[in-house]
Amino acid sequence: MAHRKESMRNGRGSALEGLLTAGLDEGKSRFTLEDGARIAVVGGGPAGSFFSYFMLGMAQAVDLEIELDIYEPRHFSHAGPAGCNHCGGIISESLVQILAAEGINLPATVVQRGIASYVVHTDEDAVRIESPVREQRIASVFRGNGPRGGADTSRESFDGYLLAMAAERGARVVRRLVSGVRWVDGAPRLEHPGAEGATYDLIVLAVGVNSNLTQLVRADSGPAPAASTRTTRTYICAFQADQQLVQDVLGNSMHVFLPTLPRLEFAALVPKGEYLTLVVLGDDIDQELISDFLDSAAVRRCLPKQCVPMVCNCAPLINLRGADRPYADRLVLIGDSGVTRLYKDGIGAAYRTAKSAAETAVLHGVAAEDFERHYRPVCRSIEADNTIGKLIFGTTHLFKVSSHARRAALRMAAREQGRKGRRRMSSVLWNLFTGSATYREILKDTLHPAFGAGFVWNLAASLRPGRRELKGTGGAHAQGHARPVVR
């Protein structure tokens, strides 16, 4: 039995495992997980739950018996900030598809709205960009149980759903805050406020960036990761309106804003049942900036007057740069605590890093060099792509300063909606806002000569006086009947 297990773990157990582990020629790791191994996952957000779900599945596949505890003090069934891991709540098009291929299909209680298009608003115009497959492949979700004061039992939290999935596979959920990690006799041990915790064979930190726990992994008692990340503050608030009104005015679209206000980078309005979530990214966001934004022509055009601002708002941090070395012996940082995608698809990055860390731990080992060899490449690939993302976001400043450039981009996208063939600007904008493609792919698309030629042509056309035909074209053409984009 022991021999069979060992051979399976080395990838010789079945043809399939052999295929998956082909080329793994390294010697035995300094630290491997053996039967009875104990794993602590600190944080039951998407990264922690994905890790636990996949770790337990893979361990079972290679016949490895493990115990896995998830430490998560938050109850995701609570409404308002107490039950919420503050975010826009968009599950990207690529993640929805990949999860479906993994056998994880988000139920209707979790999906508040299926999104099939994006409406891009500038100060002057708006254009609707339809999903390339004309299908609702983006989900808007609540991370907790919706805004403060609006608890609803028929609604299920996304994070709560994932955590329940991990628990169903055998994870034990411990409702306890972790205050630090300390090394005792060569093994990492958890600390809780005022109390010592248990010792584990592997500790996975999935605490996001809105916790200082990763800084509490001290190097003085044993190996520690290089965990510092660079972050910036964002702003999120919620509005409530009649569900039908939200449907009529915003439809199955996410609305993104490229306003010219200084300090404002980007904003988005996400419809969710009878609620709307507003997400604002920028520098030094304060009340004045939010008021100016809500007063802007673009927002007034699209946010129904009957929408009531709710008391629920927050200012969470978002990553700008990930951890340099998100691992050490028997310790790994995943999701936002480790490395995530710049501004987009953070939950998709949590899935990628979580799964890669789980595969490393099961198939290779939990020593620093195992994570270096098998987990770091995924982190590096995300970081390298973020560098390209920064370049792309840098160039979008052109649209802030030039109304002609803004109009040309939207004009090009609007004209593509009713046409067959490659929709170059639409595809670039779609991928940029949905996070469906890597920044590298987006850059490649913008470097295509036809993209440049199309943009210059539309720039010239938009410079001609008296040519303002944009509003309404996107949605009307794409859907085959006259319907204004923004009412």
């Binding site: 996949f54 291929a101 299909n105 209707a108 299908e135 492949r137």
Partner: protein, 137 residues
């Protein structure tokens, strides 16, 4: 229970994929049921009925062949399209992703083998196969 919101709605009898057409996507049923039909000279044969969570069309992910069967909605159904490119890009980084699909395929082969044995073991059973409803889940 609220209506499933992801994917595309198909009306009763509407085809999602057609036998003989080229395809580059796989599909995952989100709600409702679909039937897998093999069109032959002597008429249509129902191969399977699939429900929420089941997938089909996965062969087009691994090979460039025409669709081997028609799949259409049985009652109204909600079905999510998974692009070949999105999937292959992920499988390149994470071969484990292919396991779930391979598991589904191997389960289907096992079911087909069972059907074959049943068909060979007696003419009556063979006749039955025409209208058989192999459920994959």
């Amino acid at each position: 229970m609220r209506k499933a919101t992801l994917g595309q709605s198909y009306a009763d009898g509407e085809a999602i994929v057609r036998q003989g057409e080229m395809g580059s996507s796989m599909y995952v049923v989100q709600a409702g049921e679909v039937e897998v039909i093999r069109e032959a000279e002597d008429g249509e044969h129902r191969l399977a009925v699939l429900g929420a969570g089941d997938f089909f069309g996965e062969m087009s992910i691994f090979e460039r062949e025409v669709r081997s069967a028609t799949v259409r909605a049985l009652g109204s159904a909600q079905v999510l399209t998974v692009d070949k490119r999105t999937l292959l890009r992920r499988i390149k980084e994470d071969p484990f992703l292919a396991i779930n699909i391979l598991k589904g395929m191997s389960k289907r082969i096992r079911e087909l083998n069972r059907e074959l044995v049943r068909a060979r073991s007696g003419p009556a059973a063979g006749a039955d196969m025409k209208g058989s409803e192999g459920r994959t889940r």
